[in-house]
Assembly symmetry: C2
Homo-oligomer: 517 residues x 2
């Protein structure tokens, strides 16, 4: 289970504190699993007829209804040049044009990390896991629910760095609301760059912040590296239904022009921003994804783009969004099929829950979403851990509980070995009827790697569990969060690079007044 | 969501108590969903080569290693007559013989219920859901963990009767430890027969108790009905590895001879009762299932049998069983494929968890198992709700939380509709870019059935949730359990039948001294 668990084991044996621990072991590089490469099939939920109906309807939507590119004359001109019928801000895309344009987007690309062992490949049979994105609140066992701060943000980046099954440091792991809204992207980027060495996401809340993200990345990686590689994958939401706003598109334009990757996906609460039916929502998502990815290729052909959907359904009584529901799963399965047919990388979301606490509801809903993500062929799973309360809150305890479950996805994706060792015929012969396998040679040779092992869940006997305080998994996770933060060690960053990053931030911050809205 | 929710709604509106409620509404028949018929594909985890290797190895196990039928001379004679090589109590089954024998077992059968609207079909593309089986303890929010009693047992039967998504009343929903061990099967059967009208399971702990189960069923249904129909599906565990004990086989013989169904499946903690590898465990499970189902056909060709496996893995450090793990899922997926290739109905387990509480761990592990059960092609899912602490405890709160999640399986299995209404092109045209769908005609026409709706989970705004006491799903479930028990109404049972059942029980109980071990 890597250094995290080993460090924990040493700590318990010695009973020493965090400082003694750090001193005793020197620099520790926390183990990160390689991104997942599936050796199992995807679940093909929709049949060929259904897929063809939805594809034909999406083309009808693009041609007849069209999509809006608002406050963005340059985008309208690009569409006009490409052969679309532009009326006001509405772009009617002739049948087949978007489908033709997306062909220049790569089916797979590599996003590099400053620790190159942590590069990720996105597309084909891969699955890359990234943490929660966007919550304004943080909710933990000790402090309850409150607005997120930069200190919280840094805590989540550290937890992400130390989570073995998490491949990506993510982006806005929580909103650091104590930093001015026009400056916080600088602190967030610096936290990802300095407190972790995993790949990260850039800012999208203003085109100028996308520029800052690219500039800081050039300081971190070197300008030539950024010019020749994808070093950021950033989140471009579509304003559903069928609307692409100027700010998000402005960020997309910066990233695409710089060869940086964008996730282009609608954020849909079904029944509100899309039709109340699965097939109707799939039609709209496909139309929106096609238009968005096609536009990225109009900006720069060959720039990497990920298609997908972030979909929840709605409780039609209260209007509240719901999570981990069957309709959301069906949409994700279908969108995976439609995206694969376009040869594009596919994105979904992981640790979805509407619960206010990391309780049973959170467990059910998150596991439903994680299983669906694995089996629907997702290539980039955002919100893979840490999401709570419909995305309004990030939870450190749920972060480590979810991140532990991500290990299950790794093992499931490996498929079933049937080599001679795995067949275990010698063990069956050795043990025979009525015996037991604990002591046999095959078990002794294989037990250490045979089964996936949790790093946080409890399987102790009831009596031991009560002796230790009858802790729920929420409480066990809180203890694990503290252990991880105690054990955290910052990965080495070249001091000159660090200095240059700080100087860039200081100059930028000095150039503008604080804004809080 | 049926009568359960409607009754709840009326209660809240009036603010009356349980008695007033019951008086005001007269007899209520609680709605039960029809068993699931899958319209989606199964996930085929193993490829053809892997399946063929495992099938060949299972034949080798049966022929070379053999299986034990202990303390059962009649079984050894049946095997000898069928052409097996019997040495002492060990039966060596020639390659292909078991596979040939199982062909007389039906690929699908109907288990009837006394309310014929609740008959279930088991096999092919169906999925029948049955509750937790076997826990000696009950653990609830109010009372903590304690040994189960007959009062607890009756409570679970009532909850099962009222759970819309549960098709089957099950068997030993908890052990009623306050009733002598040699008499409790009578009370358990009577509870299922009188407090519910769903199909149920018979006793397997002694051949004489299987006879009692059949006799009481004849009173309930009429002797001719039992002779011509399957009215019980009972759980025959194999004593892994490769051993069939005389007591369980004695019960199987009674049921098979009476044309009643048996689930014949190993209960395996991987690494202890089977090899530590997935392929090795699958080989053993297939060999055991083949031998067991073949034996049921030697007793009476054509008697219904369900094959399957109840598999968990083991924490190789502590020796504790673990649940909801990827290896258990892989084994279940593989066993589903192997069982389908034999044309037999397939059994798995649902609400698996090792957690001591209905907390996040319980939620993750249960959802992992439920998703796997749906997608691995299970026909009969035992333990679909209510299981806690590795099966040592039954939890009423988890029962209703799990039973709620079973609704998701129903919806997922329906697949995605692509009829004209579902395509929703009119809605997309009506709303257009930038609009919203809440008020459009398509939404108004479809919102009531568009999305699966929970009956227990919480999606309220944070402020409402805190005003209502910041309840976890454990607490919400406890409140729902109480509402359901308050609303419970016994289904009608013919008084003469009831009297005859009671007389049979009284006579049986008077015929033997109490035994508690």
């Amino acid at each position: 289970m890597g250094e995290v668990e080993q460090a924990g084991g040493r700590r318990r044996a010695r009973g020493g504190g965090g400082a003694a621990r750090r001193a005793s072991r020197g620099a520790v590089s926390f183990e990160t699993a390689r991104f997942i490469e599936r050796k199992i099939p995807n679940l093909e939920m929709l049949n060929e007829e259904a897929l063809e109906i939805i594809e034909a309807n999406a083309e009808t939507v693009l041609e007849e209804i069209g999509v809006m590119f608002v406050e963005n004359p340059a985008a309208l001109q690009r569409w006009r040049d490409a052969g679309a019928d532009v009326r006001g801000e509405r772009v009617h895309i002739p049948r087949g044009l978007a489908r033709e344009l997306v062909k220049t987007a790569p089916s797979k690309f590599t996003q590099i990390a400053r620790n190159r062992a942590r590069d990720v490949e996105i597309g084909g049979n891969t699955l890359v896991l990234a943490p929660v994105y966007g919550p304004p609140f943080v909710h933990d066992l000790a402090g309850g629910r409150r607005y997120g701060t930069m200190a919280d943000f840094e805590k989540f980046v550290k937890l992400g760095y130390m989570s073995k099954w998490l491949h990506h440091s993510g982006g806005t792991v929580c909103e650091p609301t104590d930093v001015p809204v026009n400056k916080r992207h600088l602190d967030m980027l610096y936290a990802h760059m300095s407190l972790s060495d995993k790949p990260y996401m850039g800012s999208v809340t203003d085109p100028s912040r996308a520029v800052d993200s690219i500039e800081m990345s050039k300081i971190l990686f070197g300008a030539d590296v950024v010019e020749n590689n994808t070093v950021m994958t950033s989140l471009i939401n579509i304003n559903s239904p069928l609307t692409f706003d100027g700010v998000m598109m402005g960020a997309l334009e910066q990233y695409a022009a710089a060869g940086q990757a964008s996730i282009i996906s609608p954020f849909i609460v079904g029944g509100a921003m899309a039709p109340v039916s699965v097939a109707g929502t799939l039609t709209q998502c496909l139309a929106e994804g096609l238009a968005g990815v096609a536009y990225s290729q109009l900006v720069r052909a060959g720039s990497p783009a990920i298609m997908g959907a972030m979909v929840t359904s709605i409780d039609m009584n209260s209007g509240a969004p719901t999570f981990g529901t069957p309709e959301a799963s069906q949409i994700t399965y279908g969108m995976g099929q439609l995206t694969r047919r376009l040869g594009l990388p596919f994105r979904s979301s992981g640790s979805f829950t509407g619960s206010k606490l990391p309780d049973a509801q959170a467990g059910y809903e998150t596991a439903n979403s994680l299983n669906m993500g694995l089996l629907s062929g997702v290539n980039f799973m955002l919100h893979a851990c840490g999401w709570l309360e419909g995305g309004l809150a990030a939870s450190p305890e749920k972060f480590v509980l979810d991140a532990d479950q991500l290990g299950i996805l790794h093992r499931m994706a490996e498929g079933v070995a049937v080599d001679e060792g795995a067949q275990a015929m010698d063990a069956l012969r050795e043990v025979g009827p009525g015996g037991h396998f604990l002591g046999c040679a095959h078990t002794q040779d294989n037990y250490q790697t045979a089964f996936w092992r949790t790093g946080v869940l409890d399987y102790k006997p009831y009596e031991t569990w009560t002796d230790e305080g009858s802790r729920s998994s929420y409480e066990l996770a809180a203890a694990k969060v503290q252990r991880m933060l105690d054990d955290y060690q910052q990965p080495h960053l070249d001091p000159a690079t660090d200095e240059a990053l700080r100087a860039y931030m200081a100059e930028k911050k000095a150039s503008m007044p604080d804004a809080f809205i």
